[in-house]
Amino acid sequence: MGRKRDILIAALILLALWQAAALLLDSMALPQPWIVLVDIGSRIADGSLLDDLAISTFRALCGIGLALAAAVPLGLAVGAEASLGRRLSPFIYLLYPIPHVVLLPLIIILFGIGNFSKIFLIALIVFFQILVTTRDAARTIHRNYFHAMQTLGATRLQIYRHVILPASLPKILTALRISIGTAVAILFFVESFATTTGLGYIIMDSWGRADYVALYTGISCMALLGFALYLLLDRLERRLCAWTRSN
């Protein structure tokens, strides 16, 4: 496919730029990409990197999954049920602009320093992004779609399944796309302290030890994780929203 080729070319160009910058700078702080790639390969081979990659992926996916599971049903209901919208929208209005990341101390006091706190913070931040988009998507569905369902004798639940959810899905997936970037950023933040596992830990640890190759291994894997999630979402979108490409 042309798109895949273009992405590959872009990746090669970025690697070439990195290589050129590394040669020009000739500094410990910017190792050449192939050295980093070799490091990644050997760490994967001896298994040490896989654990960190797995735990980071796990935290990111759980956070996003938890956020989706809560935000989509709530957002759809708040958007589609006028009375619920009137009652809950003021709360969303007040709570959404808070930088939720500052709640970290509170979350740790409540849930400890284990995985759950990390996942919870990711989920909390992504939750609001998806909630607001989902609500707005559900609120702007043309009323004729509802009339059409009524003429077919649909129940409220059937209207959710056949109209409100599918009509909102493209916008939900767009919100999710933005949320992936946020989730990986928060992942780095929550893995940068009080843990000895995960890609964020690798980055902080090797930074502290001035082990620049390992530092770039961590950074590259973090980037790859974000990219992999992005690809996954692409797949999902193609599956679920085939109709948007027919317009």
Binding site: H147, Q150, L152, A167, W243, S246
Partner: protein, 247 residues
């Protein structure tokens, strides 16, 4: 039998009450065909919504004897863009919990009947306007209705597809013995398809005249003198209304 008795309807918009329909009374016998015509914005869609039970009148009554099954074709946004043609047509049956095999045979029959064979897996946006209207018709017919409500189903079509679909509506009415109520702004269409023609005034819609048009229902009717006479009669009534003092 559909009986409309002294029905009035108004909308409240930002505290202002505006009358849309006023003292509407008429009747349509079983297996009859009725066309509703009138100036733009006079309340035709609102009247159809009242008949289809999507709106309730402020005053007056609408009686439909014997709780018949009804099918409805809405003016715009009737089809669900996120569902394939097959899923759009089968939706009414699916919502009623019909077995999958029965839905499939019914949908396949309708695809053939409506000249949509081979387009079942397309999305509405991939079809021409005429085909979309045939999908809407197929969806309304899928539940084997005894009454068919149609709101300007042909207004966005070119002359040729329009005529073809008018003939299709005629066949549906004659062969399936379905009571049809058709909203239109085309004089020729009203006379070709409506044995009884309800002419509405400018907003607020009142009945200007009920024209009995017993010749309708024959393919050759378009070529008859009677057809032209009725067309001219309607044109005169509507023109007088248009020229009259502004309400």
């Amino acid at each position: 039998m559909i009986r409309v008795d002294a029905v009035s309807l108004s909308f409240t918009h930002e505290g202002e009450v505006s009358q849309v329909l006023q003292g509407i009374s008429f009747a349509v016998e079983d297996q009859g065909s009725c066309a509703i015509i009138g100036p733009s914005g006079c309340g035709k869609t609102s009247l159809l919504f009242l008949l289809a039970g999507l709106l309730q009148p402020d005053a007056g009554t609408i009686t439909i004897e014997g709780r018949p099954r009804t099918g409805t074709i809405l003016q715009n946004y009737g089809l669900f863009p996120w569902k394939t043609v097959i899923d759009n047509i089968g939706l009414g049956l699916a919502l009623k919990g019909a077995p999958k095999a029965r839905i499939r045979t019914r949908v396949e029959g309708l695809l053939a009947e409506m000249g949509l064979a081979g387009f079942g897996r397309h999305y509405p946006a991939q079809l021409s306007g005429g085909m979309q209207q045939r999908v809407a018709m197929a969806r309304a017919l899928a539940i084997e209705p005894q009454i068919l409500f149609m709101d300007e189903p042909l207004s966005s079509l070119d002359a040729l597809s329009r005529e073809r679909l008018q003939n299709l509506i005629l066949e549906v009415w004659r062969d399936k013995r379905i009571t049809t109520i058709l909203v239109t702004h085309s004089i020729e269409e009203a006379v070709y398809l409506g044995r009884r023609i309800i002419v509405l005034s400018r907003r607020p819609g009142r009945i200007l005249e009920i024209v009995d048009n017993p010749g309708a229902g024959d393919r050759e009717y378009r070529q008859t003198e009677q057809f032209f006479r009725h067309c001219n009669q309607l044109r005169r009534i509507l023109k007088e209304e248009d020229d009259g003092p502004q309400a």
